[in-house]
Symmetry: C2
DNA sequence: CGATGACTTGACTTCGCTCAAAGACAGTGG
DNA sequence: CCACTGTCTTTGAGCGAAGTCAAGTCATCG
């Protein structure tokens, strides 16, 4: 089970109080093994659904590696992507015992599946742990708010650039900064509230104007950092 | 609701597990008085800023009554509204000791101001309370996600109708269902990612087509519920 | 009752969506 | 190893919806 990964699940988030600017690991070793004791480690191939909106929320998940998208299926056939989830993210928190959205692996993923009832129990007994989880959820709340701000931009170019800038934080922190785009253009479009074509055009434009350079379709390097940042933050 | 300020702050949210469909009061009387013991009750007039983005996050707030908007100030002069906060909502959770956005009263408000350090302390000692707060933050996370979904709609009419439908849940639950619009058109526009004119036009259109009727500029009655719901949910 | 700010309405422009087709890529099996 | 196929992506043309600019109307408060 979870022993495979040895150290057990971890979570990243910014703490409430003053501290280093970037996200730190939240869980103490004792909490990690505590959670590991009620968790199972699962592997999913690319494209596999993890759970479906509306189904019984038996489990909470922590992503060990890979990328997951969370989305809704609307009557019209649209599929807005609400978030992309990366390593050390938690998801599957329920409302009234049901999942609020569907989730799907967009790369091969490894994740911890944690029995919701057992976790709830554990939280009620361990205030320290509950506070850590609270911190993580707050972190995700903030990122949802940022997403909303992103969506108020009207120009495709700005949205896409902001999106790249967000992805940069989840890529290997090489100084040469290659940004990985694990998701399809279509997923990105659904996250950005744009048509797939608009996303493609915006990226082409960024490339033509030598702000970024593609290395294959799923890897981007920032060529002109100054202009890149200007577009990203010039809301 | 928070009619009796004497009883201390309260919070509404949907619990994680199975239960009644709508939000319930989260805090047990003992928690309410516990929080009250480290809280101060404050009054703010319409338009007053509560805190500014980037300032030291000393306090967490619980809104007793009135409506607050949370927004950011962007270099361009835009002011996206991230959320509207209603009675029994909590806000002011910090990142690294700083507020992430500004908040302003848009009606006269009464709120509880709670020392952040003292609250953190209390949570670390009382797992039950920490879980309640966790539940509330999760509730707000969900509403932020809904907001993001709303923003992926491209048509002004749909966004505005969805917005009205959301406001309906915060209005007095009279069967006659008068929806109150406590905020200006401009605030609504900034929340919806539309121009103020687009909001106005959408509302005029809804009125002309007899889906809704205005009773003054800040009160709306749904006239044709069927069509209203169809527009609101027909994403 | 007049002034200030909020809201509505109209005309014009722009940008992203839709539809359509061609081009690149990855995995498969010969 | 390479051709084949289905999928993902890019690019183009035309249209429509929302933004912007600019008056004009309404309400609210001194």
């Amino acid at each position: 089970m979870a022993e495979f990964l040895g150290t057990g699940p971890s979570l990243r988030a910014n703490p409430f109080g003053p501290g280093p600017a970037d996200a730190a690991n939240l869980l103490a070793p004792r909490h990690r093994s505590q959670i590991a004791s009620i968790a199972a480690s699962l592997q999913f191939p690319r494209g596999r659904l993890i759970y479906r909106e509306g189904s019984d929320a038996d489990c909470v998940f922590i992503l060990a590696n890979g990328v997951v998208k969370s989305f809704r299926d609307l009557p019209s056939g649209k599929r807005p992507v609400m978030t992309f989830l990366f390593a050390d993210d938690m998801f599957g928190l329920a409302q009234n015992g049901r999942y609020m959205n569907s989730t799907q692996a967009i790369t091969p993923v490894t994740l911890y599946s944690i029995d919701a009832a057992a976790l709830a129990d554990m939280l009620r007994r361990d205030a320290e742990l509950a506070v850590q989880i609270l911190c993580k959820v707050t972190h995700e709340l903030r990122s949802a708010l940022r997403h909303a701000v992103l969506l108020t931009r009207r120009d495709a170019l700005g949205r896409v650039t902001m999106f790249l800038s967000m992805l940069e934080q989840h890529s290997q922190p090489g100084p040469n900064s290659i940004i990985q785009l694990p998701m399809s253009r279509s997923d990105a479009a659904n996250y950005l509230g744009l048509s797939l074509e608009a996303v493609s055009r915006a990226m082409s434009l960024l490339e033509r104007s030598e702000v970024i350079a593609f290395e294959g379709r799923r890897n981007v390097r920032v060529v002109d950092r100054t202009r890149f940042d200007k577009i990203a933050t010039a809301l």
